[in-house]
């Protein structure tokens, strides 16, 4: 069986302010079915570019991006994305934001209403159905952002630093929420982050990226038992893994020249 997500020799180059920029280079990555794969890297290493190519927002300059063995051509609800900024439609209520996908695809209301009901409960959004995004906190917005893609039952869930702009407290709550949701219904996740602890807490594997041009340097398996909760972050095994990842990331941060690369988002 083909991996759920596979990148073969993928490179992405573009021109920024007249300069030729290599965002990512010779990326090889395979994510198995139902694997929670984290991509860990410093800002500007092209990890968002990588996710955008899997989502179908951007095309690779070289190489192939395959999902279920098929080359990615365009965005598709089977590869749903949770963005760093929730990117909710500000003119729709919470309910209408969650229903956006099914409605746009012409799914009958009788089919998606029960799923919305379940999601409202699971995501703790009950009572906020008629609120507009402007009335929600950052954490609540991200719950809606997650709910509106989960309702599409995507084969692959793509998450681009989804909790990166939340405060520490809210971030922990959201991480535990995601753990609960994922451990209940396992599915393939590609999770972009620059937070080592977040990667270890959530993922089955962590792929470490180098600074620009972004390459995948190492991939380590996170053999922490599931179901996990925030307590796992205090275990000795967690700290061993954290030390290893810290060393890997640090090598790169001190690499002279890495900081001078222009950052593109």
């Amino acid at each position: 069986m083909a991996p759920a997500v596979e990148l073969r020799g993928v490179a992405k180059e573009f021109a920024a302010r007249g300069r030729h920029v290599v965002a990512v280079e010779s990326i090889d990555l395979a994510v198995a079915h139902n694997e929670f794969a984290a991509i860990l890297g410093p800002s500007g290493c092209g990890k968002s570019t990588l996710l955008n190519m899997v989502a179908g927002f951007e095309r690779p300059t070289r190489g192939q991006v395959l999902v279920e063995g098929e080359p990615v051509q365009a965005p598709h609800p089977g590869r749903a994305v949770v963005f760093q900024e929730a990117a909710l439609f500000p003119w729709y209520t919470v309910l209408d934001n969650i229903a956006f996908g099914p409605r746009t695809r012409g799914t009958p209301a009788a089919q998606y209403r029960p799923r919305i009901d379940t999601l409202l409960d699971v995501m703790g959004l009950r009572g906020f159905e008629r609120h507009y995004p402007a009335e929600l906190s950052g954490g609540m917005k991200q719950r809606v952002g997650l709910a509106r893609v989960l309702i599409m039952e995507p084969a692959v869930l793509l998450m681009d630093e989804p909790f990166g702009s939340l405060d520490a407290q809210t971030r922990s709550v959201m991480q535990e929420l995601l753990l609960t949701v994922w451990e209940r219904r396992q599915q393939t996740v590609l999770f972009i982050t620059h937070d080592i602890e977040e990667a270890l807490l959530l993922a089955d594997t962590v792929s470490v990226m180098t600074a620009r041009p972004g390459r995948i340097k190492t991939r380590i398996a996170v053999d922490l038992p599931r179901p996990r909760s925030l307590e796992v972050t205090t275990s000795p095994r967690f700290n061993d893994l954290k030390r290893r990842l810290l060393a890997l990331v640090r090598e790169d941060t001190f690499n002279p020249g890495a900081d001078h690369a222009p950052r593109a988002r």
């Binding site: 749903a80 990117a87 439609f89 695809r105 507009y132």
Partner: protein, 264 residues
């Protein structure tokens, strides 16, 4: 509005009225040219409520009919401008090929003031409503199309991506995201457009048709009825203000989500 704010809002107009009245009474201005406020009010009253038997004024009781003429022309021209300007603005903003083909022409025609179109309009459409409709529609069209284009181009890339990954096709992206996102700009265009429409209706009625407030304004000037002229100016100002309020209220309903944003 609180009493205090109302007092502040009314202070300047009251002062201006007092100054106006003083200027006429004290003969700071040439006598007989500028009517006093009371004179304007009396003329306006007769213009609205007078009947042919109670007054010898030819304007007596014709206010409402003229207001109706002008308002109808404004609404017709404005709706025409919106019906053409909004879709065209969406296409220009959305499609680079359309923008390249159409936008330069609009930008070149836009600096021609609608007053300069008057002879052309009369030559083509004659002294009929069509002339007025053309001038009003043209005047209101520019701000509507330009602001719509601007709003569409400003659509957040992230929202477009969000819609696409949720399975939205081109039509859904256009109607559920691009149009909704451009709506605040479109309303700005509509408010500017209705303002231009009132300017255009006065100009058009002065020359291109034989009824409405613009016609009365020019006619009253010719026969030396400055009191009617001033009453007409106030009437147009009032109608312009009211029509702007209608659009503003509509925008507040349509953009409810945005009001919350400002307070959040």
């Amino acid at each position: 509005m609180t009493v205090r704010r109302l007092a502040w809002a009314l202070a300047l107009p009251i002062a201006l009225f007092v100054l106006w009245d003083l200027a006429v009474r004290q003969r700071w201005v040439v006598e007989g040219i500028i009517p006093a406020p009371a004179q304007v009010a009396a003329a306006w009253y007769t213009w609205i409520f007078g009947t042919a038997t109670t007054s010898l004024s030819p304007y007596s009781g014709t206010w409402l009919a003229n207001v109706a003429h002008s308002t109808r022309r404004v609404i017709e021209g404005f709706l025409l401008a919106a019906a053409l300007g909004i879709p065209l603005g969406v296409f220009i903003g959305w499609n680079r090929a359309v923008a390249r083909a159409v936008d330069p022409s609009i930008q070149m025609l836009r600096p021609i003031p609608i007053t300069a179109w008057l002879p052309f309009a009369i030559a083509v459409f004659g002294i009929y409503d069509a002339s007025a409709r053309f001038l009003i529609g043209l005047g209101a069209f520019y701000p509507i199309v330009v602001n719509t284009t601007h709003g569409v181009r400003d659509t957040n890339l992230l929202l477009l991506r969000a819609a696409r990954m949720l399975g939205a096709g081109p039509a859904a992206v256009l109607f559920k995201v691009v149009f909704r996102s451009a709506l605040p700009s479109i309303f700005t265009g509509l408010r500017l457009g209705i303002g231009v429409a009132w300017t255009a209706v006065i100009v058009a009625e002065m020359i291109a048709v034989k009824s409405g407030l613009g016609y009365v304004l020019w006619d009253a000037y010719y026969v030396g009825r400055m009191d009617i002229c001033v009453a007409t100016m106030f009437s147009v100002g009032l109608l312009g203000f009211l029509s702007d309020q209608v659009i503003l209220r509509a925008s507040r309903v349509a953009l409810r989500w945005r009001a919350l944003e400002a307070h959040g």
